[in-house]
């Protein structure tokens, strides 16, 4: 197995575990197993899925759930140009490939020295990640339905704890750490005054002072990946 495939395998296994966590949380938030499967297979961008489920389980409106999910999904648009060299030329090929343009596939393909290896890394990571993400979600959903009162198991801590682990690759720069502190502060202040979900949308404004404070900040970094 080539080094990039071996690296991708570790990444994919880690994402499968995150998928199990997502399934358990989505089940606890009241989503049926078909909805969990459809979401993981078709939305297929983990952060947005976690955010939407988090807003719904916190009693937020569908609009707030959709808004926070789309804020997190928007960055995938910036990945298109980065993975362009790894994508097929045909329109039909690109229609399929677009579904796999996410943090992990972009990071893996961007790290390759030539176009052929970039394409191999993109598809190998993308397809296996999709399989493990969907399987993990289903496993988590089934597991979740056997658990009973999820809070007795500390499951309400699983969500923020997952994000503590997921956020660390995004905190490597000083502007990012500043944005994180601003985002958390805005959200906490907003909780008593706004409906569930809105604190999250307001928190996105935390990036503005972070960019102002570091005008030349990180130009265009490699996207963060899940650390196992």
């Amino acid at each position: 197995m080539t080094p990039h495939r071996r690296q991708a395998t570790v990444l994919v296994a880690a994402v499968g575990v995150v998928g199990v966590t997502f399934g358990v949380l989505a089940d606890a938030a009241g989503l049926s197993i078909p909805k969990i499967v459809v979401m993981s297979a078709l939305v297929f961008t983990g952060a947005s899925q976690f955010a939407a489920v988090g807003v719904v389980s916190g009693g937020g409106t569908p609009f707030a759930a959709f808004g926070s999910a789309m804020l997190l999904a928007a960055r995938n648009a910036l990945y298109g140009p980065v993975v362009n060299r790894a994508l097929p030329n045909s329109t039909s090929g690109r229609v399929v490939a677009a579904q796999f343009v996410i943090d992990e596939t972009t990071a893996m393909s961007a790290a390759q020295p030539d176009d052929r290896m970039a394409a191999d890394a993109f598809w190998f990571t993308g397809i296996w990640l999709w399989c493990l993400w969907v399987l993990g979600s289903v496993a988590g959903a089934v597991l979740g339905s056997f658990i009973g009162d999820p809070n007795a198991w500390g499951l309400d801590t699983a969500f923020p704890a997952s994000f503590v682990a997921l956020i660390s690759p995004h905190l490597r720069t000083s502007p990012a750490r500043f944005a994180a502190v601003m985002g958390a502060a805005i959200a906490v202040v907003a909780i008593p005054f706004t409906p569930a979900g809105v604190p999250l949308l307001l928190a996105a404004l935390g990036v503005v002072p972070a960019v102002w404070r570091h005008p030349r900040g990180p130009s265009h970094q490699a996207p963060g990946t899940v650390e196992s």
């Binding site: 979401m39 789309m70 140009p81 569930a196 990036v207 650390e227």
Partner: protein, 104 residues
């Protein structure tokens, strides 16, 4: 969560990916990328931190300091010590559950 919301999320999430693949790729996106990149690079940090805060101290429309805070603090320490994902989440859940079992 309704099927309508789910469908909207599917269309929206694919839409953003497709914009990158079809509209931005192959063109000179230097100006757009340079302008948006500093902001979009920081969005995950700001939103994830806010999610952590809301899920740790949020309760309906008030703040609540309870067993969750201890679990999340344990997760922060575990993550800082570079513990694997599963261990980080497992330790956090166990801490919160243990405090609830002792208190309840």
């Amino acid at each position: 969560m309704s099927w309508l919301l789910l469908t909207a999320m599917i269309v929206g999430a694919y839409g953003f990916k497709a914009i990158g693949v079809f509209a931005l790729a192959g063109r000179d996106t230097g100006a757009i990328s340079r302008r948006l990149a500093p902001f979009s690079a920081l969005v995950p940090a700001a939103l994830f931190a806010a999610l952590i805060a809301v899920q740790t101290v949020g309760a309906e429309r008030s703040l609540s300091l309870d067993a969750r805070l201890v679990g999340v603090a344990v997760a922060v320490i575990a993550s800082w010590r570079r513990a694997p994902f599963v261990l980080t989440v497992g330790l956090a859940m166990t801490s919160t559950a243990a405090i609830r079992a002792l208190a309840g």
